[in-house]
Symmetry: C2
Amino acid sequence: MAHKVQEYVQLLQRQIISELEDVDGKALFQIDEWEREGGGGGITRVLDGGHVFEKAGVNTSAVHGVLPERMAKVLNVPATQFFATGISLVIHPQSPFVPTVHANFRYFALGEDLMNPLDQWFGGGADLTPYYPYLEDAKHFHGVWKEACDKHSVASYSDYKKQCDAYFYLPHRSETRGVGGIFFDYMRTDPEDTFAFLKEAGDSFTKAYLPIVQKRKDIPYGEQERLYHEIRRGRYVEFNLLFDRGTRFGIETNGRTESILMSLPARVQWHYDWQPVAGSKEAEAMWFFEPRDWLSFDV
Amino acid sequence: MAHKVQEYVQLLQRQIISELEDVDGKALFQIDEWEREGGGGGITRVLDGGHVFEKAGVNTSAVHGVLPERMAKVLNVPATQFFATGISLVIHPQSPFVPTVHANFRYFALGEDLMNPLDQWFGGGADLTPYYPYLEDAKHFHGVWKEACDKHSVASYSDYKKQCDAYFYLPHRSETRGVGGIFFDYMRTDPEDTFAFLKEAGDSFTKAYLPIVQKRKDIPYGEQERLYHEIRRGRYVEFNLLFDRGTRFGIETNGRTESILMSLPARVQWHYDWQPVAGSKEAEAMWFFEPRDWLSFDV
């Protein structure tokens, strides 16, 4: 299973990158292969300054060795051998009309013998962060994930949607990070069935995201929209550095800093007590930043 | 003592703002007075878009009430009445040649009777974050703090300098935040003597910082220096959101978000694996981002 998942996420990485490069039409993803001191390594692929995408990272890793002490403590397991592989991506487009997206799909196993692990589980998810949100985009994104979940008895869209809303939440702003998506972890259902779902989800990513990009990428915008975009991106940075477990865990366990922080947008602004003007497009956007049942809307 | 410190930090706030407005020549600090639900409040004063200062916040607060549970846990004391007052400032100049500076000076007391507290202590410090550093600026800044400490038997420059280096450190970058300064906390020495030192330190702030501003503010710079400036500011955001105890504590205890995050610079950039060109000014700057005995250099 370890080997099959690793192969799958690397294949998915190449497919997603190829589709993103096609849509962008200008920028290519650079490649950085790195090795982990304790065992394994990763392939970091980053794009900076494209036509459509301002900054994007699509990374895979497959690491193994003795479970770091801190990780053992968090997982509440003895410091045995471990194996972890996954794909993690964050895409920040140039246009404030094209949402930021994040997704990851991963597999974790404990024990000396990967053919017969002591424990193993799958996790992952995808969530969408629009700046000028469209109800039909939120509905499309969620619709794709619901369809993927509904095909697999091990998965539950409604559970994963709730988990996503709860996780991607900024308590100090009383806002969700965006319009959510799905989030799941510690899936210990039958490994073959669960892997089949993980592949379904991975393969659904571009179907969930790229139609939105195509629909919104040519909407004209000016300085005011861009300022708002960079200010809202500040919330993304706040979430990732203050609350995201993966980011904090990576930083605290001496992970590869540049691969972890590739999730941060290229250009960000913070201004004291910025508030949208009442009745403006920017004020209307705030309606989207709380948990809603997007599929129930008739658009 | 509670009342005296509160009066002092508010006076210091007005003095510092007046000197900063003089140096800037354009922007004025706006004023936001706020009240805390559990008791007390603060005066947030922020400048955005000045000639010399791009963003600056000089805040005071004086809060009291029942010690929040989380705070009691961190301090390892019972949930009694508390009083806290202090001044906290962060200044982000426009020019990459003018350093960012941070300082705060504060007093904390526990117990029902502020005239006779169960426990009380002082804390504070100041640290300098240059982008294009000058050895003579680091030496001047530290020289002022050493002089202030040397006048008071309760204080120790060498201790506080070490604490500052240890605190303002980014482990994931293996860098200090800047060239340091002084940092002290839980000073439980004689309250009158300690308050005399706190005033000395507070009064020293503009002497430590403004001569550096005056010396560097008119150095011309272009796009390349500005890009570097915004990228280095990313480290400031990373420190404050990932590691700064005050920021995390404020966010986690439902503090006033905008007053806490006024410390973040206005414009910031993150690019994957940015590295200074070997031999460049930017590469040379890195020498400054590790603990050094600035006063020992002959400049």
